[in-house]
């Protein structure tokens, strides 16, 4: 029952002593367990021999075949974890995983519903052996219900759970969010659910099985869907697509505008912001100021106003616009790209990025603490190579048999 000799536990972290078994192979589950690993838990990833996690092979660019030992997605999601290569279909492999789970605090899995049972890892049986265990199950539509066996990808989850129907232009296709954002939301929520279960187990000695339906996570989310659902229930009306900030009215507007060298995002949500904006873009233009200051609504002159605004933005660089807007206390920010984010003085000054060495990928800056607290986030080591800790973890289990 000792911690791994390969880990330099130089300082206390809040989750020291907590053991999590990660059976997931994709973003949501891996992000959920990363939340524990980065704050000190011992997270052991179970990976398929030879293949490993899907996140080792997922390409960010069409047609690319990423190096499974140096794929940015895997490197990001698996900091501080250990990896063991285990064939769950072999008797020995299954036995090893069962023993690992018997002494663990939590298991996170994202197989298709029913698969865990077919493998011989029925949560009820796992909890009978280890009554304090928390088993978190992530799936697209939950473990029950008529659609539980439906296949899903990210866009399917966004279509069924996210506010996609209200996103995009009115006369064009609904628009999904970019990247793998929905997976992260589901994973973060699964992490929160797991910790709730652990906290309950700590207080009562009783474990739990948690059913995380990706669809339901997104339906309850703060990216408008929950408020849109309640609005529809209150009034029988769907949220429209192509109307920015459907929640607002009057002389307020939000959205992106083209600057000389990129884009800016502006949020004019009340009369105070409106007047500040009018003063900023109309400085020295008495006719414009006289016409648009203090206007609660615009009418036929909306287009005239917008043309003026667009011309003002288009003539200026995005950072300049952001700086001037902030000086006037107007919410207006630049679209930054990855190179700009990487070099950004605000995040650099705050130490938001952490440099760490990986045997294959080399020296890179990783994203740092998602939040800060005493004895919190630290990168103790970068993501594991496939099966890097198989021997080490096996030896620990042997020892635990001798010294239970």
């Amino acid at each position: 029952m000792t911690s791994s000799p390969s880990r330099a536990d130089t300082r206390r972290q809040v989750f020291n002593g907590l053991r999590v078994v990660d059976l997931s192979r994709w973003v949501a589950g891996e992000f959920a367990t990363k939340m524990f690993a980065d704050f000190g838990a011992d997270v052991v990833k179970i990976e398929k021999p030879g293949a490993g996690s899907h996140s080792r092979r997922w390409a960010l660019v069409p047609g690319e075949r990423p190096d499974p030992e140096a794929n940015p997605l895997f490197l990001h999601l698996n900091t501080n974890k250990r990896s063991i290569a285990v064939d769950l279909r072999s008797t020995e492999g299954l036995e090893l995983v069962k023993r690992l789970i018997a002494r663990a605090d939590a298991v996170v899995e994202s197989f298709r519903p029913g698969h865990l049972e077919r493998l011989g890892l029925d949560p009820d049986e796992l909890r009978a052996t280890n009554p304090r265990l928390v088993v978190t199950r992530i799936s697209p539509f939950g473990q029950t219900g008529p659609y539980r066996d439906r296949e899903a990808t990210g866009i399917v989850l966004q279509a069924t759970g996210g506010p996609m129907n209200a996103t995009g232009d009115a006369h064009r296709a609904p628009q999904r969010k970019p990247g793998l954002l929905e997976q992260y939301t589901i994973g973060r929520t699964a992490g929160e659910a797991t910790l709730a279960g652990l906290y309950h187990a700590r207080r009562t000695g009783r474990g739990s099985t948690i059913d995380v339906s990706g669809q339901e996570v997104l339906l309850s989310s703060a990216d408008r869907r929950a408020s849109y659902l309640l609005t529809a229930e209150y009034s029988g009306v769907n949220a429209p697509r192509g109307v920015r900030s459907a929640h607002r009215g009057a002389a307020t507007f939000t959205g992106p505008f083209r600057a000389a060298d990129g884009f800016v995002m502006i949020y004019i949500t009340n009369q105070e912001f409106w007047n500040r904006l009018i003063r900023l873009i109309g400085a020295g233009d008495e006719v414009f100021l006289g016409k648009f200051l203090d206007r609660p609504h615009l009418g036929d002159d909306w287009d005239e106003f917008m043309d003026y605004l667009k011309a003002w933005f288009a003539a200026r660089p995005k950072i300049q616009i952001m700086t001037d807007a902030e000086a006037a206390r107007i919410p207006c920010t630049a679209f930054l790209e990855m190179d700009e984010l990487y070099a950004h003085p605000h995040f650099r000054e705050r130490g938001a990025f952490v440099t760490a060495e990986h045997p294959v990928a080399g020296r890179l800056d990783y994203l740092g603490a998602p939040w800060r607290m005493r004895d919190g986030f630290e990168i103790r080591h970068t993501a594991p190579r496939l099966g890097e800790h198989t021997a080490e973890v096996t030896a620990e289990l042997e020892m635990s048999v001798v010294q239970p």
Binding site: F39, A59, P72, H76, L77, G145, P146, E151, T153, I155, A159, D169, A173, Q175, R176, G179, T189, A190, G191, E192, A193, L195, Y199, R202, T204, I210, D211, E216, L219, A222, D223, A226, S227, A232, E233, Y234, S235, N238, V243, A246, G249, A250, P256, F263, M265, Y267, E326, R329, P331, T333, A334, F335, E340, H346, E349, R350, A369, W371, R372, M373
Partner: protein, 426 residues
């Protein structure tokens, strides 16, 4: 009202959050059984609906009026808006004007007997009110103070104004959001920072509570929302360094999948279809039958090279069908496909109904409606879903008399001076 099967039973949360992501976070703590007490002044708008809103004033506000039951804010608009009520379940509400000596005293006494304080105001607001975290932690060393400034409490841009989409743009999310191959300004809105904060903050508070079990001490949680949401594009941050490139605007497409959104025969009803591999492709073409384009997609390389033509083909196949028809046929052969669900379709969805996801709840201010359910469920402990919302000031007596121990005389004095009311003026 003790239920020991709720994980956070006995944990009291003082909720000073406003607008969106903060209240979304405290809703999750309430789900876990914490006693979440919203402190709200009667002299400022705290629920995104002014007391002065009338049926007439919203009549021409377009879609926005639908956030009120039947489009009617009156009476008590601040109790009737979906903008507040989507996250108001389980919470308590007490009237306290923090800038008055009486409100300040009551807040300090409540904080003294609480476990957690959550706030997402602009940097410096609590300090101006004499409620900075240093002072509160001195008063109550077991307190966990969770603060959610979007850019953090330090750094050159820590005081920048903005909403979720503003900070989405600063961390690089907006630059990759848009229709395929177009500039990044063409998509609709994206409130992903708001989406990512609630579960992250609830996790952070649980982490601090976990630590308190060991150390006996509370402390500060600095939850910089931009740094939290940044995690969600961490792969692109590393990819930039490793391969010197930035993410492209991909719209509904995906680097590894053949996918898009397709129009069906029904009015503004769309479906999405994803092809992951050769098996999915064979299954799709088995359903579609012989069409000119089906020969163009046999291998992953073919599907990449001919992506546009193949999607045009799938679009033509979907166009005369109903969304139910498309989804049923493709789901039967295990191809990922779904309707892009509108709210009204979700309210009538058989799967969500079978899982009893929506919860019908009543409140005197709004009547009986179905509310969005919990983000997850557990076998082994309970989640709370009691009262759907607290009316403004609904828990004044409980908070002042029961919790703070105010006698009738002191309480009645506050009421008579309109410092404690069950109606909002702003």
């Amino acid at each position: 009202m003790t239920d020991t099967n709720l994980p956070l039973d006995g944990i009291r949360v003082v909720d000073l959050t406003v607008v969106w992501s903060g209240p979304g976070a405290t809703a999750l703590l309430g789900d876990l059984g914490a006693e979440v007490i919203r402190i709200e002044g009667n002299n400022r708008v705290s629920r995104q609906a002014s007391a002065r809103t009338t049926n007439a004033s919203v009549a021409n506000s377009g879609w926005s009026r639908n956030t009120y039951p039947d489009g009617k804010p009156e009476p008590r608009p601040y109790d009737r808006t979906a903008l507040f009520n989507w996250h108001a379940r389980n919470k308590l509400a007490a009237c306290m004007n923090l800038e008055t000596p009486e409100g300040h005293e009551a807040a300090l006494r409540l904080i003294e007997i609480s476990d957690v304080l959550v706030e997402n105001n602009t940097n410096g607001v609590l300090e101006k009110l004499g409620l900075g975290h240093d002072r509160l932690l001195e008063l109550n060393p077991r307190l966990i103070v969770a603060r959610m400034p979007p850019m953090g409490m330090t750094g050159p841009m820590s005081n920048y104004l903005g909403y979720g989409p503003n900070f989405n743009s600063l961390v690089g999310i907006a630059a990759m959001d848009g229709y395929e191959g177009e500039p990044p300004d063409s998509a609709g809105e994206n409130y992903h920072m708001d989406e990512s904060a609630p579960a992250g903050l609830a996790f952070a508070v649980l982490t601090a509570l976990w630590d308190r079990e060991v150390t006996g001490r509370g402390g500060l949680v600095e939850f910089a929302q931009a740094e939290n949401v940044m995690q969600d594009i961490g792969e692109f941050f590393l990819d930039y360094q490793m391969n010197d490139r930035k993410p492209a605007v991909l719209g509904n497409t995906d680097p590894a999948l053949l996918q898009d959104a397709f129009r069906t025969a029904e009015d503004d009803r769309w479906v999405v279809v994803s092809i992951r591999d050769d098996r999915d492709w064979a299954a799709l073409t088995g359903v579609v039958g012989d069409a000119g384009w089906t020969a163009l997609g046999r291998t992953a390389a073919d599907r990449r090279a001919n992506s546009r033509a193949l999607r045009d083909g799938i679009a033509a196949w979907c166009a005369p069908l109903s969304s139910d028809d498309v989804v049923r046929r493709l789901a039967a052969v295990r191809v990922p496909a779904a309707e892009v669900m509108s709210e009204l379709r979700l309210l009538a969805d058989p799967h969500l109904a079978a899982r009893e996801w929506f919860k019908a709840r009543s409140h005197p201010s709004v009547g009986t409606y179905r509310y969005p359910g919990h983000p997850w469920r557990a076998d082994g402990f309970d989640l709370a879903f009691g009262r759907p919302l607290p009316g403004f000031g609904e828990d004044n007596e409980y908070v002042y008399k029961t919790l703070l121990g105010y006698g009738d005389e002191k309480y009645d004095d506050l009421v008579s001076r309109r410092l404690v009311t069950d109606e909002q003026f702003a």
